[in-house]
Symmetry: C2
């Protein structure tokens, strides 16, 4: 897209400013929540005035949209990196590593997590083909890659629930053709359930619903939940 051969001085400066704006916005988000990201505060923190920010973003929603896209990329990157640090043939360990990264990121950046996977923010328009859909697909694809690998290794057992409706099987075949043949419909269904379990545990954890457990018990509960999700999906754990 952009030719890196011509990073004009001005362009570099501008990019740096944009980065700083987003970084400051993320910082404010951590302490004040999503909706209290004020241009005034961002500008003040940067030693500027509010109107200057409009040179970089059309309005508040444009900044939020950018932050959402960044959040998706960051979450995806963190999960992918965690996954890559484990032997490719040890799919169980890869699932655990990815799940941990998913939760750790959510705990580290609860505001961003809420921003990308929570209820759509105030009154902005859902950017149609926006990053939301793409990143969700991306998360799914990371999961499905794990299942494909497990199937190739012959380690994918039958999931806990094997009933699959015709509609569900049709969706699996149509929307995720890369799985057909290798991953049976029941495993596809179980894969989504595993994702739901991971996501639910992450949400409850990140939003403090497990705070009444100590740090230690909470961590171990999450590990047990990850193992449960894997076993229920017929995923090779131990």
């Amino acid at each position: 897209m952009t030719l890196t051969s011509t990073p004009t001085r001005r362009e570099r400066q501008r990019a740096a400013t944009v980065e700083e704006i987003k970084e400051v916005a993320r910082g404010l988000m951590r302490h004040q929540g999503i909706t209290d990201v004020r241009f005034t505060d961002i500008a003040k923190e940067m030693g500027m005035t509010a109107p200057a920010l409009y040179r970089y973003y059309a309005d508040r929603d444009a900044l939020l949209t950018d932050l959402i896209a960044d959040g998706y990329r960051d979450l995806g990157r963190v999960v992918a990196e965690a996954r890559e640090q484990v032997d490719a043939d040890n799919v169980a360990a890869r699932w655990i590593a990815a799940g941990r990264a998913y939760r750790d990121w959510a705990r580290r950046e609860p505001a961003q997590f809420a921003l990308i996977l929570g209820m759509p923010v105030p009154g902005y328009v859902a950017p149609e083909e926006g990053p939301t859909t793409d990143a969700a697909k991306d998360a799914m694809s990371q999961l499905s890659a794990l299942f494909i690998r497990a199937a190739e290794l012959g380690d994918l057992k039958a999931p806990l629930v094997t009933d699959v409706s015709d509609a569900m099987a049709a969706c699996a075949a149509e929307k995720h053709p890369e799985l057909s043949g290798l991953v049976p419909p029941a495993s596809f269904q179980a894969m989504i359930t595993a994702w739901a379990t991971l996501h639910g545990a992450t949400c409850l954890d990140a939003y403090g619903q497990f705070d009444w457990l100590g740090d230690e018990a909470r961590d171990q509960l999450f590990e047990a939940t990850l193992r449960t999700a894997a076993l229920a999906a017929g995923f090779p754990i131990e």
Copy 2:
């Protein structure tokens, strides 16, 4: 608290107005999201002016707090009612009914669901011992009641994951003494995992992450997820 023997005309009128305010606010929330609940809009919808609302709520946060409490109560009521409509000894059917009600409510009122179980709203203070904690405990107690009944019936099998850390077991014994003796620590841990699965599936569903499946496949996916959660927890299904 309030003596129902003296519902003054004025008191009744006032209560009705409060109800109308909350109802209008909920209506606006459904279409404009949580944060865009403006006093101006509520008042306009009611044929009043904004300052009049301050006769009923100290500020915007007070209204939100009330709505959160109502949301918890409503969700709890709906789940309890669904559960009660099933034979008390058929714990599996009760779990399914409660899970369905949980999701249906979230799909019907995604904004309220986000309000009570999503990321804390803007910059308001989390009401310490507020309704949040109470209602979460209440939801848990509904779940644990199911597990206790299953244990009494002798139908509670070993969950998929039986490893329980000492810290987790200690928390279970300390925070939920009503379970000790009847429900083993591993089942307690599995119960929370089941809740996480239900909650995750509900979140993803309510926020549209499963829209690419049709209505039919989505419903059946959820049913399969409910069954998976139950089986993984050693809950008697079928």
